[in-house]
Amino acid sequence: MNAVEFILAGMLAAATPMLLAALGEMVTERSGVLNLGIEGMMALGAALGFMVTYSSGSHALGFVVAAAGGAAISMVFAALALGFVANQVVAGLAVGVLASGLSSLLGKPFESQTLIALPKLALPGLAEIPVVGVLFQQDIVVWLTLLLALAIWGVLNHSRLGLIVRAVGENPHAARAVGFSVITIRCAAIAFGGAMAGIAGAYASTVYTPLWADGMIAGRGWIALALVVFGTWQTGRVVFGAFLFGALSLADLTAQAVGASVPSQLLACIPYGVTILMLAVISSNRKRLRLNSIASLGQPFEG
């Protein structure tokens, strides 16, 4: 397998943990809430997912429990940020730290254990194309994530539910005046974001690298946050950013493998820099940025 095939084969799976978390965070932020605890919530999902899958042998059960765990811990954040109208930045960071602590505690007995990953499903026809074909051999979670991204795009832009979420994010006071419960809708958006972070973590620990190691999320939650902001809360851009990051992080590994004469630390920086630069360039139109950005993001709302 040459470098191109290596990157094509792995980029979707490498992107999936970030993409799942970013899609959830995008929905949360669209409702006007900034949840900075994503990294910790992913870690908790990763620990729970690994434990359940390891004990039961069922990946599906692992994902369900990870989603439930992510949603549950995000409700602690919701209670602080919505119930007690705490500063969202501080509340998010605090809950994130709590969640990563929990993940270390729960995962301790499973340190360095491994699992069997999910099998790859090839898309008939497409998977036989030379070189590019490897792109179409992915596990089921990757395919479901892509479908989910499409569904989220559809719901946000073409459904009444999406309209309500966007309305709450743009102007919570007006949303309340026309009769929506801002707190309920934001709470639901936070729960969705938490569940997605949990699933994202479980994918990382049970499928992408099927082993448990403390701190294995390694900043992917923060990348997800950056993807959402630099992708200007647009589903398509977030997906693009995630794939770009996935491809670049594999390119970095390839370059190290062939022994490029650049220090590996520098190579490891490239995916972060290039992804953010690319998205910043795409989103640099100030007019569009102003239209896309969420007017009430991070602002406390007393219902």
Binding site: R166, E170, A174, A177, V178, G179, K287, L291
Partner: protein, 508 residues
């Protein structure tokens, strides 16, 4: 309390307190179907609180609200809407990044295509034309108000509440709005019309309930009473009049804009093109127009908050080209500025009045070798409070604790005490009660008589006619030619406000 049939909505003995402040006290009110009922009162009289109680935003501490004779508990706006109460807010509750029909779809069930057809049908029936597919942020204020009204009408309300609906409209649009409301009245709808404008109420309403300091001070048919009587009930004394000063000989030009343009890259903002005006010593020049037609951008260009936009030389302040000068440099020339947002731009809410004084008056002996002279600061502040009748416990009070009118008097006072040669005032009397507003206008006229050049940006046409020597109208970033107030009518100015230019022209 009421004669004849059961009123649609009746309130008896309704009270509402916020902490120690009584906002509404023992309010009795009866609204009958097919009536346009005015709620008349000054800023702070309790009109908004009363509407919040009726629309279910707040719940009363005492008293009974009855709908068609049955006592009801309105716990939320949704509950009020279910009964058949609709409300058009003063500050619109629309979502700017959504289209008109999407805004409707949030409140009304049904497919968007069907909704768009209903929007058009209602528009035809009641004279409320608006494009269902337009994004709300691209609409004019008048169009947004139509969208709000249509959104209410889609729910078939029996009672429609309008909160200060004419405060944002040019005169011609007011005429159209009244026509719409009369058509709704003929259909049997009851309308609660909240306003502080006496002439409008006399023209439109058949019943008026007058509030002062949270209590009902009058209940009458406004058509049978003079504006003077209404005003007396509303403010508790006779309406004070501004003495319109005799024209002065014009002094030198203190502010001159020659063909100033500004390209705004904010999609919610306005670009200015070819703006020319001159303000002379001893003259008040007014900028009329509906907010959002470039007023903020124009004020920022003159104050220096936008410095790079105009080519240097196009703006001349006190004889100097200031296009590339910052705010502080312009103030040093003898320029002072009262912005429209009092909290955040005019004053820092969390800081004491004394520290707020320091923000612009630091040059007047309040700072010695880089250290603040607390004594001088307090003396300046106390002087400002005394001279401008600011009602506050003292210089150490936080700016955010003052009422809108008092804070405006304080900021005006601070800028006036800088003894500027050129003063720019944006919306001098927004949200200020009539007494304080009259006072502020009087002070502006007095300054003009002392030779200060003053530029006033205001939405209140009556105010501009009262105090200005010359008017310009700002519409979609373009400024009209100078219109001397002595020789033009309110209607002519109104025509400029909607871009018609000539009053005889078609009204959109």
């Amino acid at each position: 309390m009421s004669q004849g049939p059961t009123p649609l909505l009746s309130l008896s003995g309704v009270s509402k307190r916020y902490g120690g402040v009584v906002a509404n006290s023992g309010i009795d009110l009866a609204v009958t179907a097919g009536s346009i009922h005015a709620i008349l009162g000054e800023n702070g009289a309790g009109k908004s609180t009363l509407m919040k109680l009726i629309y279910g935003v707040e719940t009363p501490d005492d008293g009974v609200i009855a709908w068609k004779g049955q006592p009801v508990r309105l716990s939320s706006p949704a509950a009020a809407r279910r009964l058949g109460i609709g409300m058009v807010f003063q500050h619109f509750s629309l979502f700017e990044t959504l289209t008109v029909v999407q805004n409707m779809a949030l409140v009304v069930p049904g497919a968007q295509a069907a909704l768009a057809a209903r929007i058009r049908a209602l528009g035809d029936e009641f004279g409320l034309s608006v494009d269902p597919a337009a994004l709300v942020h691209s609409l004019s204020v008048g169009e947004r108000q139509r969208v709000e009204i249509i959104r209410c009408l889609l729910l078939d309300p029996e009672l429609l509440i309008l909160d200060e609906p004419t405060s944002v409209l040019p005169p011609q649009s007011v005429v159209k709005l009244f026509e719409t409301l009369r058509r709704l009245q003929v259909k049997g709808m009851a309308i609660l019309f909240i306003s502080h404008k006496l002439e409008e109420i006399k023209e439109l309403c058949d019943t008026a309930t007058i509030l002062r300091l949270g209590r009902v001070t009058g209940r009458l048919d406004p058509r049978n009473h003079s504006a003077k009587e209404l005003a007396t009930l509303m403010i508790g004394r006779e309406m004070p009049a501004v003495v319109r000063a005799a024209p002065l000989g014009l002094g030198e030009v203190r502010l001159e804009l020659a063909g100033v343009g500004y390209a705004n890259d904010d999609p919610f903002g306005v670009s200015l093109s070819d703006v020319s005006l001159a303000v002379h010593s001893g003259e008040i020049v007014g900028i009329a127009g509906i907010s959002g037609n470039g007023q903020q951008e124009l004020a920022a260009l003159i104050s220096g908050e936008i410095a790079q936009g105009a080519a240097p030389g196009a703006i001349r302040l006190l004889g100097q080209a200031v296009g590339d000068m910052g705010v502080a440099a312009r103030r040093r020339l003898g320029f002072a500025f009262v912005p429209e947002e009092r909290l955040g731009r005019g004053a820092v809410p969390e800081m004491s009045l004394a520290d707020n004084v320091l923000l612009t008056a630091h040059g007047r002996g309040l700072v010695h070798r880089g250290f603040i002279s607390r004594q001088a600061e307090r003396a300046f502040t106390a002087d400002c409070i005394a001279r401008f009748d600011v009602r506050t416990p003292g210089p150490e009070t936080e700016a955010g604790a003052l009422s809108g009118g008092n804070l405006q008097k304080f900021i005006m006072g601070r800028e006036v005490m800088l003894e500027p040669a050129m003063l720019l005032v944006s919306q001098p009397t927004w949200g200020v009660d009539i007494g304080a507003a009259t006072d502020i206008r009087q002070r502006l006229v007095a300054m003009r008589n002392q030779g200060v050049a003053i530029l006033v940006i205001s939405e209140e046409i009556d105010e501009l006619f009262q105090i200005c020597d010359t008017l310009h109208v700002l519409y979609k970033g373009r400024l009209s030619a100078a219109l001397p107030t002595a020789s033009i009518t309110v209607n002519e100015v109104g025509a400029h406000m909607i871009g018609a230019g000539q009053p005889a022209g078609a009204v959109p």
